[in-house]
């Protein structure tokens, strides 16, 4: 069971990151590239939270029910880091999208190979 969980969660995280990288590398539409960047982000967040998991652990919140029990808690540090990463991801996406809108307004297209031969 644990083996299956390991493979599925880590596999999903890596697959998400690869899908995102594929979109960044291969797609021509700038919007799709930005979407790819945020897919990489979500893969990374999933990986972080999965690393912090402890078997049979509860959320790291000391509610009155949990206080008395000796149940293990998942590692709170990766979750705090992911909170930061989500906010940074939002900032990156917002600025990238505004640049895309700006480029679209200027060139009337969001296809990166038509704007300039920036991409092969």
């Amino acid at each position: 069971m644990n083996e299956f969980l390991t493979i599925s969660i880590y596999g999903t995280a890596v697959a998400l990151m690869l899908i995102g990288f594929y979109a960044v590398l291969a797609k021509k539409n700038l919007l799709k590239i930005v979407i790819g960047l945020s897919i990489v982000d979500s893969g990374l967040h999933l990986l972080f939270v999965a690393i912090g998991y402890v078997n049979n652990g509860t959320a790291p919140i000391f509610s009155p029910e949990v206080l008395g029990s000796t149940q293990a808690m998942v590692d709170p540090v990766p979750q705090a880091l992911v909170l930061t990463a989500i906010v940074i991801g939002f900032a990156v996406t917002a600025v990238a999208l505004s640049l895309v809108i700006r480029l679209y307004r200027h060139h009337n297209t969001a296809a990166i190979d038509e704007i300039k031969n920036l991409k092969w």
């Binding site: 890596v14 790291p60 808690m73 709170p76 909170l83 930061t84 640049l99």
Partner: protein, 238 residues
């Protein structure tokens, strides 16, 4: 064709190294590292029930200050990138048709409830899942709801930037009070209270409320900027 091969070669390389690193990490094991220290100290030392909040706001508070700054810079950068001077007499076009009565009435009912939920989430950030960033995002969603249902709904950028600045100043001031009292920057100087009380955790509550206001106003400003300055039918004018 050659492009595609190169892309897949790059992806295969990235994937190989990712899998190589990730497969080294055991899943679900307690690694007895810094996390345990935080889990042990949070309820006894800080009297905060949510360990993630304790880490984000107290142990790594300086990091959060940087995070808030990044968010502020993103909002500012976005509005400076999107800014476009309007021609004389040019009106802001938001939507061709007003939304239906159902949406308008529904959003009028939902708006205060969503704001209430957001405020609840950031006030209880040290007790339950959630916090300043999440609550702020929820409140910004309420603004988005109003923006899509009413064509006339306006976000007052003056008010928003005042809220944002005051919230940021509160955050930094709370940090500096710690320095003045002879402790470190952002160290807790208030009584911590009882575990699982609303008024517990010392400065964490104050900081998270400030962060909530700041994030809410920033996100609302971002949404409004993107909606206002974007006019699909205007082409080739710069």
């Amino acid at each position: 064709m050659i492009k595609r091969i190169i892309v897949f070669l790059i992806l295969a390389t990235i994937g190989y190294f990712l899998v190589g690193v990730v497969s080294q990490i055991p899943f679900g094991e307690d690694r007895n590292n810094v996390g345990d220290y935080y889990i042990e100290k949070t309820p006894t030392e800080l009297k905060v029930s949510n360990a993630v909040t304790a880490i984000v706001v107290n142990y790594r508070g300086f990091d959060t200050l940087g995070e808030v700054t990044v968010l502020f810079l993103a909002a500012t950068g976005l509005s400076s990138i999107m800014y476009r001077r309007r021609r004389k007499g040019e009106k802001q076009i938001r939507a061709k048709l007003p939304s239906s009565r159902i949406i308008q009435i529904g959003s009028q009912i939902l708006f205060p409830l969503i704001v209430l939920l957001g405020a609840y989430v950031f006030i209880h950030g040290h007790l339950s899942p959630g916090g300043g960033f999440q609550g702020g995002a929820i409140i910004a969603t309420a603004t988005l709801l109003m923006l899509i249902s009413y064509r006339k709904f306006k976000v007052n950028h003056n008010v928003i930037s005042w809220i944002e600045s005051i919230a940021g100043v509160v955050f930094v001031t709370v940090g500096f009070v710690g320095l003045i009292l002879g402790m470190t920057f952002l160290e807790n100087f208030l009584p911590t209270g009882e575990l699982n009380d609303l008024l517990s955790g010392g400065i964490i509550g104050i900081i998270y409320v400030a962060v909530g206001f700041k994030v809410a106003s920033e996100l609302a400003g971002v949404i409004d900027t993107v909606l206002l300055n974007n006019r699909p039918e205007a082409k080739n004018e710069n």
